[in-house]
Symmetry: D2
Subunit: 366 residues, 4 copies
């Protein structure tokens, strides 16, 4: 219900601004007795950390997470876990130009219109820095999943930058960590590198599509009608900065399919149902089938660019703006670990919800 919280039983509230002293997440409802320490979270934060190569913002942040509560002698206690990340490299002067001007395509103007006050430094609360807190919370979710559902795997990667798609036939998941784009296709990564370098030098930016899959998800997660698994995944992904579209399985492409083509046929495997295809993205009627859960989301290009754009000032005068500062030419890159984190949180939440309402038993087939 709260504006800055998500989840039902595993509930995450994030707080903090880009240039305030710190930001973080309060994680409530975590199961007890789960091994957890800061190094287990840091590994995920390091994936999202800025300044790792020339394709991400040059802001230098250690993104060191501190656990302030909810963990005792290396294990969760079932009480709220406070995760704090200090901001250390707040170069606020970079933002002087946006004190009075609104960046087109940015939340500057709407925060002002809504609240009549806005922390303009680095976008304040609307900054993508907020996603560091989600990644930390996602790390807690992963630690719990490791215990409750050790076969569950979550993997994110980029499948499109600008109009350049990966070649699905060349996908090799082992490639994902071999390039700065989390691309599962080495050739695409090369193309993207040249493309983005040119854009970056010209002071421009570009959008991207990220895919997140979860395998080893048990059948039966989710619920009709407004807490469907895909409903919760789509709102989780849409809540990430700059996301403008979300797809499950065949996604927008489902519109082009006939019923005959779309119906993933069902066969009986050694451990239960198996399917001929996965247009459903692992979810039918809002409930997981046991197939891979497949989600994609589109990230728009950063609006903080060096290209001059027409805009207005707070006093209503028309003007132009160039946004200097340290910005990501393709925010989609750093959205990959964020998408993974959101998937982890949503899946864990639904595992707990299912256990709460239904218990361990489920309908058997065969």
């Amino acid at each position: 219900m709260s504006f800055n919280s998500f989840g039902h039983l595993f509930r995450v509230t994030t707080w903090g601004e880009s240039h305030g002293p710190a930001l973080g997440a309060t994680v409530d409802g975590c199961p007890p007795n789960i091994p957890l320490d800061e190094t287990m979270l840091q590994v995920w934060l390091d994936k999202r950390k800025p300044g790792q190569n020339k394709f991400t913002t040059q802001r230098q942040e250690a993104d060191q997470v501190e656990i302030l509560s909810g963990v005792f002698e290396g294990k969760t206690t079932g009480t709220p876990i406070q995760l704090m990340i200090r901001n250390t490299d707040q170069r606020s002067k970079d933002y002087g130009d946006i004190l009075d001007k609104f960046r087109p395509g940015h939340a500057d103007i709407t925060y002002w219109q809504k609240y009549g006050i806005r922390d303009h430094r680095g976008g304040g609360r609307s900054s993508a820095r907020e996603t560091a807190a989600r990644v930390a919370a996602g790390g807690v979710a992963r630690a719990v999943l490791n215990v409750l559902m050790p076969d569950l795997r979550i993997l994110g990667y980029m499948v499109q930058m600008g109009d350049k798609h990966i070649d699905r036939d060349l996908v090799d998941l082992a490639e994902i960590t071999n390039n700065p784009f989390w691309a599962p296709d080495a050739k695409a990564a090369d193309v993207w590198a040249k493309y983005l370098n040119d854009l970056r030098k010209s002071g421009n930016s570009v959008g991207a599509v990220v895919e997140v899959i979860a395998s080893g998800v048990p059948a039966g997660l989710g619920a009709p009608v407004y807490a469907k698994l895909d409903t919760d995944i789509s709102s989780a992904m849409m809540s990430i900065n700059a996301v403008k579209g979300v797809e499950i399985g065949a996604g927008m492409g489902a519109a082009e399919l006939t019923g005959e083509d779309n119906a993933d046929e069902i066969f009986m495997g050694p451990d239960g149902p198996v399917y001929s295809s996965n247009h459903a993205g692992g979810i039918l009627g809002g409930i997981s089938t046991g197939q891979d859960v497949v989600c994609r989301f589109a990230v728009k290009p950063t609006s903080s660019i060096l290209k001059p754009r027409k805009t207005i000032t707070k006093s209503g005068e028309e003007t132009e703006i160039i946004t200097k500062g340290r910005h990501d030419p393709c925010v989609g890159i750093r959205a990959v670990p964020v998408g993974e984190a959101m998937m982890a949180c949503v899946l864990l939440d639904h595992i707990l919800l299912h256990r709460g309402q239904v218990g361990e038993n489920q309908g058997q087939i065969g």
Copy 2:
């Protein structure tokens, strides 16, 4: 938090199955003193009603809504409004074949796997009949919007059936009610009519894309970070049966844009900011800009088709299934009024939330 509820202050809980005695919605948090009677709701239900032409299911339901509480002498009292719609044409024998077999692409199997019990008659709770309750609730939301925000308009229409798109240059909103597809392009409607008729006769079905726009939306609705206006719209739309993708503004296409192209430039109009374009779909940073709010969603094809598909039975035997009965060859058609209803509920909810947190005043420009 509840599985069958949505909304924060204007909160809707739906209930009921396809072939039970009735279904409905409990609407809580409605402002008081709003003129409301059953005829004001019926007009929206009649748009969604089945059996109106050969392109929708031939099930005959009057979808007559009864207001059981929350309205006194023609006005809302601020207490919960119970909306009940009786089911009258439950031809359950049609569903005999799906008692033991799971339809591929349908919730049959996941409801069983989750709960170990399932009302197989007409899909039970997973039936698109549930959306009648949303449309009734949306009618309540529209009645409130009429009073609180009389210039706000919500309009839905189909923009794609199968791989056949409307021509954006030929759009005439007046055409929408002139054809059975809610198409704003008369030529596209003709093409779709032939296409769908052929599919229908062959026992097949097809997907579609629906667009819903809201104009006259004030700037400032929405909230960071997890109650963003687009987050709530996307989960509202994704919760509609058969929806597999949701887009705001440029949507998935935002991935192809550069920052220069994507930034909707801002100018000063007589009544406040105006924009050169609307890639943002009327929402920046989760908060409305005052431009049209633009949402699209893709609906997959009905999985209840006459084409034989491979499947399994509850006892795990492999078999084939043909789904007889009365089904929509393109459920996207009837999803149009449902999308409108969800938009109405989400916008009203955010109007109340904004008024609650911020009050009437907002940041001024100029």
Copy 3:
């Protein structure tokens, strides 16, 4: 979050007015596969039903409950259960006098001040008739508890009417159903009968204290800090019409105890910890101990009395009011099954919450 809902996982939303066509409850989050039919609910409604003797309102209502959804072939399906009770004996003319005058001690004036509109017939939504819906929902909770926790017992009874207390030394729980007051002390019942008869004849009314105990509650239910078991019980009871105070265990009397007296000493029994006393009312730190959960609440006297009281009209004129109609001289009597129902709902909700967060395992002692 909703105004007319309570519960976290087992969530109840009630709706309906005293003199509208019907009232009811939507029960969401109920575990599946629980045997349930209308007769199982009717037994509880019959305990609360008006007009059963001269000590309760003479309104004649069958309070027949209909299950409209969520149950299939005699078992819950896990989807929302709609429970509807039709109003049949709405003698609205009885209420003509309160159309313009506000009853002192009644919600008439505050509903008007809040909403600017009010269904004056029988108190509208503020009527104690709303509690019929809770009792029906409580019946669903009991059906689930029977399956999940068959040893759990919930029992309510009156312990005080006016200034007349039961004698704790004479308590015999078997007496509870032998008198119209749910008194566990036959002598007190006799005293109350004479006392209330006199009050009733003089057109007056009186308050009462109801106690509800639950035995067989497992240790570990509840949660820190704001979803404590006692927090949820106290809000559940305080939400019942006319309740002005709630106590757990020693209750307000805890203020008079020293730490030495208050500390329930712990010993080791054959099946785990046992206690020398139960000042805690079965709850420590918001979490159940395994002892009886003990709750008491005070119900104020009905404000609808024949004694003339000074009041004002809607137009602000000073006047007097006598409330004719059919009212309970001691609403505490009919609050007994309502308190039981609320206890059942809260305990089941916390059983599901515990199972969701923690699972089946708990900390062992010994």
Copy 4:
């Protein structure tokens, strides 16, 4: 829904343990543009601070609050406010004895039974230190109330210690800050001082009753049926450590009243309705009348006492326990500012809820 959160629109989540590095509160939904800095919160924390005299725990904590987010240039921004208080005087060795033994009357045993793990240091999450976070959050609520409703006043004080009551005829609110007990009756304060000193020296403790009143509350706050103002106040107070009973207005004493006595008669004053008495405690039907909102709650005696009590160990052996360390002989004293803080949060939440659903207008009388 969350275990460690309360409130609907003004939503507070607290976190932290007695002996962890820090504790705090995340305040979400705060209206924007409200003047706020740390000194405005510190004044309330200083009232609750331990170690101020011999009648409270001798633990020395500065309870210095830091605002980590949500405030910009001295004003709230409408985004979440993170309030952090570092723990500085964690003398954990004091607690060595309770590592394996459960204190009777304390949450030690139930946390263990629920979670199978427990931070035994100082009671961990169950410590009354958690209330420091509430007081900080309450300070935010007060800052907002100052702007939105400047005439609203909240005042808490002790009315009973052990069996020693204040004399209502001697009440002088100016006395409250003249004694260490927040007693509004100077004579009672003297009696309590001697009484508590003796108890303290003997290693014992005692309970108390605290009263909190709010004046200047507008009519119309609250809502039927489960978000009643008194429902939310009672759960807020019952969530405070050691509270075992809550009363509104006449409270448990309402049971002794007749309808004639209980009905607060209504007259017409210059600014609207006035009442002959306030048995209702300012709330009718869950909605405020405009009279003083009056709440009382009973606090049980501290269970950490020097008197030996029988108990068991984690391994199930029977033993005795004496709790050394630094404990409050009467926790009711420090519960006074906590009760005030909870009242402030609940009232603000309902002001925002009312504004959200109903807007500024209300039903007029006269």
